[in-house]
Subunit: 332 residues, 2 copies
């Protein structure tokens, strides 16, 4: 009986990304007591993604010495348009489906526990606000520098979603008419700072004859994407192409964040995401140095902080979804 | 007795700009029943500005067949940092003082009625939300295209002020490293679209030999600034320089508004200000055509609307301040 009560205070969280699936089990205070990471499958479609999520969550639960069915529920942060009521996710970038897919019900069936689904960036922003670098602030902008560049806004302690798509700082214009973004428009922040677009630019340059260790490191690791770890390693090597593309990304982030901070006048900007967390404080400092002189009220720029929950922020944030109204049991 | 009751339902409002002082007297429904306009004095310092404001308000009251002292109060929308409690205004661009100046108390003394002071852009945004083009919406961005480019944000029916300076869309970056803005930074929207910066650019071009009627129209009117009316007339003339600079401003507004609308995902964008109102619907349509394909969610762009209260919007909005907590009588 005591065990059941204890387990019910545990919640699962999954951060579903285009590259990896990060699962955690957290206690009542939001501390991770078990975790696992799986590669996001590139073949097998949506069902394979669900299976990888279930595996990651089972492993995280095992590490926490609990069964998935004994958790209070599992929250999922997913890219794309999440319908929190239906548990569906539509048009997730870098995942193998387009139409609304019943990710919540499918995963609930696989795990035998309740599942709540929401957008990954919202989830990560809320996590940093509630438990991370944003704890001291009432208004903040979260910038998630990863495969894409996502953003979340919290004003007066409340997330601002607009008509469902607020915060998309990655699709604000930093160089009009400039580099092509994955969304088909030019000059967006994400066209310069999104890892996906950076990788495409790197591959073009290498193919055209530019010397770089980026591809070599990727191949040596037996992976087919230039992950944040690959970029970090190439920078350590002093790779000129990596430095050039990262510098360009940092510049673009400086411009986009300065404009957003001027418009919103929030207390803090929190920089997370795969690249943000991997490159860490020195790069957040560089971005801050670009932002501070560019915000409208120069004598009190926002605090510009590295996400405090690190790589686990998205998954911990997803676990917080369970608190916010999970159904009492599996719904599928 | 009946007369007194009627008069007390009348409120005064003053929109203080760098070029003109617009005063109105409005009835209980916010309809202007008297108005007057004075040029903002270029000599005589802050006291001359107070005197011009008092004159404009007295004339507006006369047109409404009421004495200033019989109004429920007078609201003032002023550029710069307004302290609504003290009635002071600090660092107003294009006005002849820097430190906090007791505009409210001075004007209250001159008029013998209560005066409330707030920032002009906030006031105009609230007016469009409450009575103008924003009536149907719960969230909007107001863009005031005039001497500068100001912006106001209303989210879920509530103004968002941030830490006091939210909405400054004129100081978001549209062309990094581009034209110099009045604030000392480069590439800001206001550097391209602010009437002040446009005039400076026009004068430089004309001095360097570019042919244009802009200066001729200005001089023929016996004024020393290229007002919105001068720009409108030059456009009608087919003046190439005027068209070039206005096109550049429209492009910059398209970029800045697209980015802001993507970030905020508001229902509506309302374009007002001296130039916005003077150039009117055709130019709002041009801006809208640039913004729509650039916002992140293309299939439901925000409504992009011309300010409905026109030239009087700022003054009518200022009159609404009286409702929101004017002292019962003159405080100076």
């Amino acid at each position: 009986m005591a065990t059941t009560v204890r387990n019910r205070s545990l919640r699962g969280g999954i951060d579903l990304g285009g590259t990896k699936v990060q699962a955690v089990v957290v206690d009542a205070r939001g501390t991770a007591v078990g975790q696992d990471r799986q590669a996001t499958p590139l073949t097998g479609g949506a069902d394979a993604v669900v299976e990888a999520m279930a595996t990651a969550l089972r492993n995280a639960a095992k590490a926490a010495e609990v069964s998935p069915a004994d958790l209070a529920g599992v929250g999922v942060g997913a890219p794309g348009a999440a319908d929190t009521t239906a548990g569906t996710v539509a048009q997730p970038p870098n995942l193998p489906w387009k139409e609304a897919f019943p990710l919540g019900p499918k995963l609930a069936k696989a795990l035998g526990t309740a599942v709540v689904v929401d957008n990954d960036v919202r989830v990560a922003t809320t996590a940093e606000f509630a438990l991370g670098a944003g704890r001291e602030y009432r208004s903040l902008l979260g910038v998630f520098w990863g495969t894409g560049v996502g953003g979340g806004i919290i004003l007066n302690g409340v997330p601002w979603h607009g008509r469902g798509a607020a915060g998309e700082i990655g699709h604000t214009i930093v160089h009009p008419g400039g580099a092509m973004c994955g969304c088909g428009r030019r000059g967006h922040l994400e066209a310069y700072a999104g890892r996906g677009n950076m990788e495409a630019a790197a591959r073009r340059k290498i193919k055209a004859g530019t010397n770089s260790v980026l591809l070599k490191i990727t191949e040596e690791r037996g992976i087919d994407r230039m992950t944040s770890g690959v970029w970090a390693r190439a920078l350590e090597h002093g790779d000129k192409l990596a430095h050039h593309l990262i510098d360009r990304a940092v510049d673009a982030l400086g411009i986009g964040i300065a404009s957003a901070a001027t418009l919103l006048d929030v207390e803090a900007v929190i920089i997370g995401g795969g690249l943000g967390v991997r490159l860490g404080q020195p790069y957040v400092d560089r971005i801050a140095e670009l932002v501070r002189p560019q915000v409208f009220v120069r004598d009190r720029p926002p605090a510009i902080l590295l996400a405090a929950l690190g790589d686990l922020g998205g998954a911990i944030g997803a676990a917080l979804l369970v608190e916010r109204g999970a159904p009492a049991r599996a719904t599928a």
